[in-house]
Amino acid sequence: MSPPSARFPSLRFAAAKLGRLFVTVFVITSLVFVVLRVLPGDPARTIAGLDADEREVAALRAELGTDRPMLEQYLSWLWAMLRADFGSSFFHDRPVLELIRERVPLTVTLSVAAFLGALLVAVPLGVAMAVRRWGAVDYFGMAFSHLAMALPEFWLAILLLLAFAVMLGWFPLFGAETPLHFVLPVVALALSRAAVLVRLVRSSMIEELGKEYVLAARAHGLPEHRVRYGYALRNALLPVITVGAIQFGYLLGGSIVIEQVFSLPGLGRLLLSAIYRRDFPVVQGGVIVTAVVFSGVNFIADLLYSAANPKIRMT
Amino acid sequence: MTPFVSVQRLSKTYTAGSLFRSRIPVTHAVRDVSFTIERNTVMGLAGESGSGKSTLARALVHLDPPSTGEVRVAGIPLARLGRHGLRKARRRMQIVFQDPHGALNPRLRIKHSLGEALANAAVPRAERADRAAELLQLVGLAPEHLDRYPAAFSGGQKQRIVIARALAGRPEFLVLDEPVSSLDVSIQAQIINLLMDLKRRLGLTYLFISHDLNLVSYVSDSIGILKEGELVEYGPAEQVLRRPRSEYTRKLFGASPALHRGV
């Protein structure tokens, strides 16, 4: 009748996605390239200082290469990219990749921990809300979700800092030396991600629980836990994978605000200061890395989704 | 005398492909179908799912124009008509679909749904209210219903309204695609009686499509059986019922559950 089930998506499927990933990253970085140079703000001026004279600035520009026409800069950048040469920071005079590489572990740790934390909160809560709609847990969950979504992330972060680091003194205020330094930032991030995810889990679960196959499973005498988790939840999590991937991608991009509030030397902070200073190579490098990571995460999510949803595999 | 509706070698194929695929899958939904329908008669079209019944219906009224072949209504080939001509031709033929719940805009009152149809039929604005009431009465509903929303009506009543709407432009030919399939048995009888009554009173011609062979046997003057897009049987009803030529027809009728009442 139709081809036998494949446990994993076909190679062609994966290759097509990879191709699209490449195109996406390319378009993004080209756009950023142009935008950076079009925006007001001269890196050479920023480095040299406000009272440096025009000749120094001009010399600096020549050194940095920002005085050449846009197209020439673009082409030489492209050429460098093909050789995987990300260039050096205008400010630190160190290779961009090196700078990024230093920061990545922290951001990754933060993101993974926050994402897992978000899931740990959102999934059980969402399921509990869906199973007993309009019950106490449901109201609590909705309140939590609304509150956490309404509160700006940094406000929540500062609140946590105030309460647990300053007043109670349980956690350190800034820096990233010990695991204890990570608790509050992870909590802040996880809660705001969870707020969004919990509503998705709830509505997705409600939808699945209302479907006929759940009724049929119950009618055949399967125990409630099997019906709820093995049947309904498993299918309800599919859209959560897609949205979760996007959330995770954002996290990986460097939670700029959180890193700023907790003074964590992550990718976000690096990017932010590079943008202020018009440190083109760092910004470009950072954007590429972020875009690649984001696309990569989505790619993996797509694979996961098609592994979980047999219908997508076949078509 | 030329038949009212004439279909010659109608085919409808669908191609699906994308920019990067070399093989283009082709579906022959309808293959080389020819038949005619005399004025004021009912042609019944039966077939299983996937046989192409609905595709044929849509191709016939040029909702989804045929890939090849010709459709003539009252002698006029539809393919030759331009957009304007087709719109005018459409007033003479209408199509009624299976699901009455989806056919009516839930946010429009009945009088507005009918009003739209009347406007499309170029009925002058001043006459529309009266004509709408007339149409409802034609299908056995009261003019009071004009002010209600579709949600207030049962499935059977909605189907009556859909039929009323189809009659707005005084068509001569109706294509009925499973008009009673989603209705209860006793309501089906009401709607079928209504349709036959309207046919008599207004001199209509029908193409009556259904998967229900008993229904098709009851209602048709001529019968066609579709199998995978091909017309494997076609002829006057009595002939198809008593001496079908195709093995498939025999199989279909054999498989149909029948009520053997002591009639």
Partner: protein
């Protein structure tokens, strides 16, 4: 398709419903979906339950399995006797042991009733695992046996519902339902969404399973023709009550209840070509607004004063034939008189 022997004629009763009533309440209004069902399913019998939408067919099946227990605004009364026990009084864990294992069910639209993320084999294994404590390995033999019974190829085990045709999906559903060798099979319009030829195959399959496994089948449908093809005895449902119960041939050739009579005459077929179909005026009453007395009386051509005041009980009229009407058989008598004039 001929019926050779009337099963269940004097057979033992396997499942019995006594005055089963179910009402749903919302916003202060109550809808009486079942208003006192009396029904008997006998051993090895295929019992057809005929009813239009709104008659309460699905509610009846759900109540049999006590599936609506959890809902807050449902009130159930009456008795459902199976093996000496009233199923409606069983605690949930005990009821769960019966569902799927002793009383099983197949549904309409099998595609919707199968878990889209689980293979057919997975479905069967689930039943075997939870009812028979089977493991992957021990389930294998039984699974193969089941596939053979329903005439499905082995590869179906690894396939998902959407990969199968309608007919195969229904066979798979049947395989799942009989996995634990139940005594009773409830069939909720199992062939309604299927093509005519496939429908025929499924009906034949059900009859074969009845013969080979000794199943008792409660076959619910709005399709009179299908019920006529497969049932031994027939019960006619109207507005939440059984209004007539008779052996198949009798029910279809000599119905006593006006509703049954009119319903049969409203079905189109080649035999009645050229004649207008008999129409029952009005519509099936909504469960929240059931007329007093006999629910059918507003639409009944022979309704009398009594019919509006008292509700007729299902009473024996002749051998194996029960009817709930104050004037049983009068409609056809009246019409043949009129016909003769």
């Amino acid at each position: 398709m001929g019926r050779h022997k009337i099963h269940g004629r004097d057979g033992e009763t396997v499942l019995q419903l006594q005055d089963v009533q179910v009402s749903f309440s919302s916003d202060g209004r109550s809808a009486r979906a079942l208003r006192g069902i009396d029904l008997e399913l006998r051993e090895r019998e295929v019992h057809g339950l005929v009813g239009e939408s709104g008659a309460g067919k699905s509610v009846l099946l759900h109540t049999l399995l006590h599936l609506n227990r959890g809902s807050a605004n449902v009130e159930t009364s009456g008795r459902v006797i199976y093996k000496g026990q009233d199923l409606l009084t069983l605690f949930e864990p005990n009821m769960r042991r019966i569902r799927g294992a002793e009383i099983s069910i197949v549904f309409q639209e099998p595609a919707k009733h199968l878990n889209p993320g689980l293979t057919i084999g997975g479905h069967i294994e689930d039943l075997l695992r939870y009812h028979r404590a089977a493991t992957r390995r021990t389930a294998g033999a039984r699974t193969a046996e089941l596939l053979e019974l329903v005439e499905l190829p082995r590869r179906v085990l690894r396939q998902y519902a959407f990969e199968l045709s309608g007919g195969m999906q229904q066979r798979a559903m049947i395989a799942i339902a009989i996995a634990c060798n139940p005594q009773v099979l409830l069939a909720d319009e199992p062939t309604t969404a299927l093509d005519v030829t496939v429908q025929r195959q499924i009906l034949e399959l059900l009859l074969r399973l009845r013969a080979e496994l000794g199943l008792s089948v409660l076959f619910v449908s709005h399709d009179l023709g299908v019920v006529h093809e497969i049932a031994d005895r027939v019960s006619v449902l109207y507005a939440g009550r059984v209004v007539e119960e008779a052996p198949n041939t009798v029910a279809f050739s000599e119905p006593l209840h006006p509703y049954t009579e009119l319903l049969l005459r409203s079905v189109p077929s080649a035999a009645v070509r050229g004649r207008a179909l008999k129409v029952i005026p009005g519509t099936v009453p909504d469960a929240s607004a059931v007329p007093p007395g006999c629910a059918f009386h507003p639409r009944c051509p022979i309704a009398g004063e009594l019919c509006a005041e008292q509700m007729p009980q299902l009473e024996p009229a002749c051998d194996e034939h029960r009817v709930a009407c104050f004037y049983p058989g009068q409609l056809s008598a009246l019409e043949s008189k009129e016909g003769a004039l």
